[in-house]
């Protein structure tokens, strides 16, 4: 039963940081530089989420992972649909990792 108490504790400390900005600060008049700072957060988060984590996307194969990231970037230049980009990167890895065994 104690695992459920652990989950309850984890729920509280996970939900609090999520909800507090939506409860307070939505009506605050922020200075312009703070608003610009906040507006850059999504792009900064993207950068840190992609690298260096992507090197471990295929366990033990950093260069193959980077190549798959390159495929994703190439497809993203052609189509705007993120789902298509995700599928293309997965298809690239499935192909390159499984085709040599099939041939």
């Amino acid at each position: 039963m104690s695992i459920w108490w652990l989950l309850a504790g984890m729920f509280v400390v996970t939900y609090l940081p999520r909800v507090i900005p939506f409860l307070i600060g939505r009506e605050l008049e922020l200075p312009r530089w703070v608003r610009r700072w906040l507006d850059y957060f999504p792009y900064a988060a993207l950068g840190a989420l992609i690298f260096p984590g992507i090197l471990r996307a295929v366990p033990g194969r950093p260069w193959l992972s980077l190549a798959a990231g390159g495929v994703a970037a190439g497809v993203a230049l052609l189509v705007r649909n993120p789902t298509a980009v995700v599928l293309a990167a997965i298809a690239f890895l499935l192909g390159i990792q499984n085709l040599p065994g099939l041939l």
């Binding site: 996970t14 999520r18 700072w37 906040l38 993120p82 599928l87």
Partner: protein, 236 residues
């Protein structure tokens, strides 16, 4: 005010996140089973905690017989970054306070970047509650369902397939970044600086939790962005 276009954009965005989550959730379900959690407990953790990185961390700590208090503290530190993301997104969300508070449950790294960049971008852009709810519920269903499937079907999932699916979330992030850079070089510069900061810090201080690294890189690179010439003519 909900228009059909907002719902379909939410569906499209939700599909991409759901697809990216599925392999990670399957992996979590498999690992949870190996750590001794029942399928109900594994799915319960995904449903209640709903924070990928801290769930994997909790499994490692449970395996290492850490105390529940230590696990809860580590979870808080790792998930504090959502406070920053919420602060950025809260101003864009069009919803009454109670609804906004409920919707914040589905705020994750992925729903934050997708909602900010695909569903609402730019200082004046608004995020409709309906589109964020659709995005959030699809991502959540994939995370909880994938966890349950992973815990129940562990022995039937081929390792070669799992090894190919792990790229999904990174491909999603790249799919968001590339059009942003085409819109303005500033976004590429900020993202690149953030990646460089994150990489340098993870090398210099390997013991630092990934939560702190993400917080430091996001705050630092965004601050750098505010020093760039103002984007008067660009709609970010």
């Amino acid at each position: 005010m909900t228009r059909p276009g907002e719902l379909s954009r939410g569906l499209g965005a939700g599909l991409s996140v759901a697809l990216g989550y599925l392999p990670v959730a399957l992996t979590f379900g498999v690992l949870a089973g190996q750590t001794g959690l029942s399928p109900a407990e594994a799915a319960g953790m995904s449903a209640w905690v709903y924070a990928g990185a801290s769930q994997f961390l909790a499994l490692r700590m449970i395996a290492a017989a850490a105390s529940p208090l230590q696990i809860v503290l580590a979870t808080f530190i790792l998930n504090f970054r959502h406070f920053l993301m919420g602060a950025s997104l809260a101003r864009k969300l069009s919803a009454r306070r109670g609804i906004a508070a409920a919707l914040s449950y589905w705020l994750t790294d992925e729903t934050f970047v997708v909602a900010s960049i695909r569903l609402a971008s730019g200082p004046e852009a608004r995020l409709s509650a309906a589109s964020f709810l659709v995005l959030g519920l699809m991502a959540y269903a994939s995370w909880v369902g994938g966890t349950l499937a992973g815990a129940l079907l562990a022995q039937w999932i081929p390792a070669a397939v799992m090894g190919s699916l792990g790229i999904g979330l990174y491909a999603l992030f790249i799919a968001l970044l590339v059009p942003s850079i085409r819109k303005s070089w500033r976004f590429g510069l900020v993202a690149g600086a953030s990646a460089a900061i994150g990489f340098a810090v993870s090398r210099l201080a390997p013991a630092l939790s990934e939560g702190w690294i993400l917080i430091g890189a996001t705050l630092g690179a965004s601050a750098l962005g505010t020093l760039l010439p103002a984007e008067s003519e660009v709609q970010p």
